[in-house]
């Protein structure tokens, strides 16, 4: 057992480092500059420039086929690139949904002409894509969406509302799941399309989150007309297409969250005075530190097991399905505990500089436990797919969508 690269991986890592050294700045450890960076009003423009550079060098989506600008490379090389990139100051996050989920769905369903038109600009950061799935009445139960698409001559008319759409406010295009037939059971009545976010009738409104940030949006559709050529997959087979998108989400290998870790908690515990001395000497505090260290270390090592499978060209086991189930509550609980250590001042947004990071974990953790699969849904997935337990009894499976809840 070792954590070493194969000769091929080591050579690639060296190549990547050289390229990154020539094209990006190494990260400093200064957290202040991290925040300043994120508040940079020109961040999107910088991100586009960076994406173009990365794509031109062939690093942006290495596992994609060559015809689409990839290298047809093994996923482990893409992971190595990501690992190395994480040591440099580069703008992140604007293209992940488009390139990780939307474009792969396009590749599965769109016409060759559309692929020729859309893939390259997306890869090179010229156009950004978003994923229009969740709705006010359809979160964990995405197949319960109500946004309608109705035939109108050669095209379709879309009416309804999406919510929690990441990046809709700066996106150029989106893939959207709609209900085309409410008279059949819910999974059978869905159809997927793509559309320009500039299409008349599309209105984007940002959502202010509990944390104060605004990364997500509500998107309203009022008589939005699109041609039938923008349909992805057959009419009524939108659920199958949506699963393609979501599968791609799961294939993405999680990177270290970048959240605060046990080292920071220990630092705080050393500096905190409790009745019986420094908090780090208190057995309750030590017990918690140990528990979170074991989780943190366990997640890192679980990723290494997944990477090992990728490195050997094997399909990884289901072990990575535990990562968010553990990481999200840990983030929330560790943040809350650190605030408790600071005493009443742990709630202050000023004068207590060490509080901000932990407060952000505590607030952010509440959202992280919901985003991209709630704690509960993820447990269902483990129970059903890993342990082979039956799906819940469903009252909505064989009932026409428009008859649900009417009995």
């Amino acid at each position: 057992m070792d954590f070493n690269d194969t000769p091929e991986e080591a050579a690639f890592r060296k190549e990547v480092r050289a390229w990154l050294d020539a094209n990006a700045t190494r990260k400093s450890d200064d957290r202040q500059s991290f925040r300043a960076r994120n508040d940079d009003p020109n961040l999107l423009e910088k991100a586009r420039e960076w994406q173009a550079k990365e794509a031109a060098a062939g690093y942006a989506r290495m596992t994609w086929p060559k015809e689409f600008g990839g290298r047809g490379a093994s996923p482990i090389l893409q992971v190595i690139y990501q690992q190395e990139k994480s040591n440099y100051l580069v703008p992140l996050g604007f293209f992940d949904i488009g390139l990780g989920m939307c474009i792969p769905t396009m590749m599965a369903y769109a016409s060759p002409e559309h692929l020729a038109r859309y893939v390259k600009p997306a890869l090179h950061g010229e156009e950004i894509w978003c994923q229009l799935f969740s709705e006010p009445a359809a979160g964990s139960d995405v197949a319960g969406i109500r946004t309608r698409a109705e035939r109108d001559g050669e095209g379709w008319v879309i009416n309804g509302q999406k919510v929690w759409t990441s990046g809709a406010h700066y996106s150029d295009f989106g893939i959207i799941i709609t209900r085309t037939d409410p008279n059949v059971p819910k999974h059978a009545g869905l159809t997927m399309f793509f559309l320009s976010m500039k299409t008349p009738g599309v209105e984007v409104r940002p959502i202010k989150q509990m944390s104060g940030g605004a990364n997500f949006n509500e998107v309203f559709f009022t008589d939005v007309r699109i041609p039938d050529s923008q349909r992805l997959g057959k009419v009524g087979e939108g659920w199958k297409a949506a699963l393609t998108t979501l599968m791609n989400e799961r294939l993405a290998v999680g990177l270290p969250s970048g959240g605060l870790d046990v080292d920071e908690l220990m630092e705080l515990a050393r500096d905190t005075d409790l009745d019986d001395g420094p908090a780090i000497r208190n057995q309750q505090v030590r017990g918690k530190i140990a528990d979170w260290y074991v989780q943190q270390q366990g997640l890192k090592l679980t990723r290494y097991r997944t990477l090992t499978a990728l490195s050997k060209g094997q399909t990884p086991g289901p072990e990575s399905s535990i990562i968010k189930i553990v990481a999200a509550p840990k983030m929330q609980d560790m943040g809350a505990f650190a605030m408790e250590l600071m005493g009443p001042a742990g709630i202050m947004k000023e004068d207590v500089p060490q509080a901000a990071g932990f407060q952000a974990q505590w607030i952010g953790g509440a959202g992280f436990r919901i985003a991209g699969g709630t704690d509960e849904i993820l447990r269902n997935i483990v129970a059903e797919r890993v342990l082979g337990l039956p799906a819940d009894v469903r009252v909505d499976k064989d009932v026409p969508f428009n008859q649900l809840g009417k009995k």
Partner: protein, 366 residues
């Protein structure tokens, strides 16, 4: 990145698993639990024939000379079967103690006997109601003689020799002699027999230097923690699947109980804890193999995660079974009992968490 066992190691694991599935089904565990046997002799003999006690013993001393990784995969299978054999005592604790601290003469004498299964060793630390600490060890060694009482000692009546923690060091003592009295004691896990050993001027010799007892014990526990973690992972996995199989088969309110989220989420949590434990155990194995500097920390993390996983899976296995799971006829009790015994035998989670943080502090200060 090569954070996995090799194909050969997986093959060995399969081999041991197949043997134990055939020769050590739960009815064998039950037989030992219900009866007077010290351990399942036919299972132990079969394991000896497979070479299990010699896996980690160098060839020069009559063993197979394999790496700790091989012993880890064997430990996982022993744990999965909850096998009533002196594995954790003889193969792990006694063998590792002699490898760690034994003189050349001691290694030459004991390791070949251990490898061939002709000697069964154990480790005797506890002296009763208080958790063992350097300041409360009363057993004394001097002038070649050992005096004191150790209880509970796992496999204490089956063992032919013991490594004993005395006030002034670790001591090797042959248990088949006049100065040693063995008395079986009842514990919560009758499938693993324990005894009280009384030493009344028993002839003995130091294992390692005088005064090094506690330090050596801590190092021995670090290695043992990794092997125990694999056994605990195996046991936790067995308990999880036992619960899952029952949840598929048992109907309540018109459907399989495994379709209720209250059961599904509980079993998903078993899986989460199991994988956290497995990953931490792998790292422990890696550090053990390379003599890695990170072993003390890795061992503590493996120990804590695996103890938690086994405790949780074994108790929720009973809970998933409902009333039938609480009967003497049910197999659920085996893992519940074993999980507790394994959790306490080389120090409980509370002590290991304290150790882990101490080691983190040392690492951060370095």
């Amino acid at each position: 990145m090569n954070f996995d066992f090799s194909d050969d190691q997986k093959l060995l694991k399969e081999q041991v698993r197949k043997f134990l599935t055939d020769k050590c089904p739960t009815k064998v565990v039950r037989r030992v639990l219900d009866g007077p046997e010290a351990y399942a002799e036919e299972v132990w003999t079969g394991l000896v024939e497979l070479g299990v006690p010699g896996v980690g013993i160098p060839e020069a001393y009559g063993g197979l000379g394999l790496s700790p990784l091989e012993l880890c995969v064997v430990a996982e299978e022993i744990g999965r079967a909850a096998a009533p054999v002196p594995f954790d005592t003889s193969v792990v604790l006694a063998t590792e103690a002699i490898k760690l601290a034994g003189s050349e003469a001691q290694k030459k004498k004991w390791l070949p006997l251990l490898a061939e299964g002709k000697a069964i060793g154990t480790l005797a630390v506890s002296e009763g109601a208080q958790p063992p600490k350097p300041r409360n060890v009363a057993t004394t060694y001097g002038g070649g003689f050992l005096n004191g009482k150790k209880v509970p000692v796992a496999d204490g009546d089956a063992a032919t020799f013991a490594v004993v923690l005395a006030k002034n060091g670790l001591v090797l003592v042959d248990l088949n002699q006049k100065g040693v009295a063995k008395k079986r004691v009842e514990t919560v896990d009758p499938a693993r027999k324990h005894a009280e050993l009384t030493f009344d001027g028993a002839s003995a010799e130091l294992l390692g230097a005088e005064g090094d007892g506690w330090t050596l014990l801590e190092r021995l526990y670090d290695a043992a923690a990794v092997y125990f973690a694999f056994a605990q992972v195996g046991g936790a996995e067995a308990a999880m699947w036992m619960a899952r199989d029952y949840a598929l088969q048992r109907q309540a309110f018109g459907r399989a109980i495994g379709s209720y989220q209250a059961i599904k989420h509980k079993l998903a949590d078993c899986y989460v804890k199991l994988e956290l434990a497995r990953s931490n155990a792998y790292y422990g194995a890696m550090m053990l193999t390379d003599g890695g500097a990170d072993l003390p920390l890795a061992a503590a993390a493996a120990r804590i995660a695996a103890t938690d996983a086994y405790d949780f899976a074994s108790k929720e296995n009973i809970q998933t079974h409902g009333g039938i799971g609480f009967t003497w006829e049910a197999d659920t009790q085996f893992h519940y009992r074993r999980a507790r015994v394994m959790a306490l035998s080389i120090g409980g989670p509370m002590a290991w968490k304290d150790k882990l943080v101490t080691r983190l502090e040392q690492k951060n200060a370095a």
